[in-house]
């Protein structure tokens, strides 16, 4: 895709082309379902081996859904940590930029019969070390375009900021909005990436030694 954001050409513009590319990457080839799952497990096992989460993490994933059909790969309900909305989460520790207790959430929607990846949502939230503020980032691939436009709401995007959208929506306990103001949220458009790449990026942002591209760069330097 061209790096230039072109003016609208009828119905075709940069954002519709970005969406078409995302759909093409997602739907254009079959996804090896078990390999997709094992790539995520391997990434988190490496995280556990670096002592950034419990080594039990590899047993915390489950697949639920319809036989030979749609399924959700995510964290088991029995995982010990939960986010403020009671989703199972992986507690992280020893990170460069976030205090211990940061939480990683993950859900991947798959079609095992068609061997297709349909959607995913992977996020990290926690308290920054300096300055001490809340921080969150979440990458979502949505099954179909949502919202008014592909520019404001691309099908693959990242939410990143200090206050998650949950703070602007109804509290699960009181049923009252925690912030009584219209919700404002910015979604950063992303090029195509598989769930494990999204997880890689999120982890690298909060702990630079986990940057696997950096590892490769150093490896290349060592080999030269």
């Amino acid at each position: 895709m061209s790096g230039n954001v072109e003016a609208v050409e009828g119905e075709v513009n940069y954002w519709t082309r970005l969406h078409a590319l995302t759909v093409s990457e997602r739907d254009g080839k079959k996804v090896p379902i078990e390999k997709l799952k094992s790539s995520l497990v391997a990434c988190l096992l490496a995280l556990a081996n670096e002592n950034h989460c419990s080594k039990q993490v590899i047993g915390w994933f489950s697949t639920e859904g319809r036989v030979g059909g749609r399924q959700i790969f995510g964290l088991k309900k029995s995982v010990p940590s939960r986010d403020s909305w009671d989703h199972p989460a992986i507690a992280l520790k020893g990170l460069e930029h976030l205090q211990d207790g940061a939480l990683l959430t993950l859900s991947v929607l798959l079609d095992s019969r068609a061997q297709r990846l349909l959607a995913y949502s992977i996020g990290i939230q926690g308290q920054r070390k300096k300055p001490e503020r809340t921080w969150y980032a979440r990458i979502d691939l949505t099954e179909e375009p949502e919202g008014a436009g592909l520019c404001g709401h691309p099908s693959l995007h990242c939410h990143v900021g200090e206050t998650s959208e949950e703070d602007h929506t109804l509290s699960p306990n009181s049923g009252e909005p925690s912030v009584k103001a219209p919700m404002f949220t910015a979604r950063v458009p992303l090029p195509w990436m598989m769930p494990v790449d999204a997880l890689d990026w999120l982890l690298a942002t909060v702990h630079s030694p986990l940057d696997r591209a950096h590892e490769r760069k150093e490896g290349a330097a060592a080999n030269s």
Binding site: P32, I33, E34, K35, K37, S38, V41, A42, L45, I58, G59, W60, F61, S62, T63, E64, G65, R66, V67, G68, R70, Q71, I72, G74, K76, D83, W85, H87, T105, S107, V108, L109, S112, L118, A119, S121, G123, R138, D140, T142, E143, E144, P145, E146, G147, A148, H153, H159, S164, E165, E166, H168, T169, P172, M183, T185, R187
Partner: protein
């Protein structure tokens, strides 16, 4: 309703002599082998073999057995299963789901099948999803059917939160598709 990595993780740590993993296609078998290699205890040596005779030696190695003739492998392992007792680490036999190997296991190898209680893993063999019950729970939680909820979600009327992204996956799972 769910199949967990924890189950496979546990099987690979057992001291039982044999386990079975079911697969749907050769490529799926390779994917499951990759997952099993990741989940296997690092202190256990592991290797892959197509030769059933390997199951009767080197009982301390996690052996991933992928025989070309699965039904003969099942019958041989059943016939000589007493020789497997000395294994302290399982031989993990891969069988195609619904294939001749599984048929022999179910119909002609009762002794071996008996040994496999709790030692079978099939990532695709999910217990039936209680669709009606789950739909009722979804509606109770959101006030909308999965289809109605997805209309609001796709139209941008529902906030783009973690909670709602997760709910969208659940709604898509339960959606009645024509």
């Amino acid at each position: 309703m769910s199949e967990s990595t924890g189950m496979l993780w546990g099987i690979l740590r057992e001291e039982s002599p044999i386990a079975v993993i079911f697969y749907r296609s050769p490529s799926a078998r390779e994917e499951i082998l990759e997952m099993a290699a990741i989940l296997a205890p690092p202190e256990r040596q592991q290797r892959r073999s197509v030769n059933v005779e390997d199951a009767f030696c080197d009982g301390e190695t996690l052996l991933f057995l992928t025989p070309e003739d699965e039904q003969s492998a099942v019958l041989l392992l059943d016939g000589r299963r007493e020789a497997l007792r000395k294994r302290t680490v399982p031989v993990v036999l891969f069988l195609i789901s619904g294939g001749d190997g599984e048929t022999r296991l179910r119909e002609d190898a009762a002794g071996l099948e008996n040994w496999l209680r709790g030692m079978e893993y099939d990532p695709e063999r999910l217990a039936p999803l209680d669709v009606e019950g789950e739909r009722a729970r979804f509606e109770e939680k959101t006030g909308l059917s999965p289809e109605q909820w997805l209309v609001g979600w796709r139209g941008g009327a529902i906030a783009d939160t973690t909670e709602n992204n997760f709910l969208s996956h659940h709604a898509a799972l339960l959606e009645q598709r024509v």
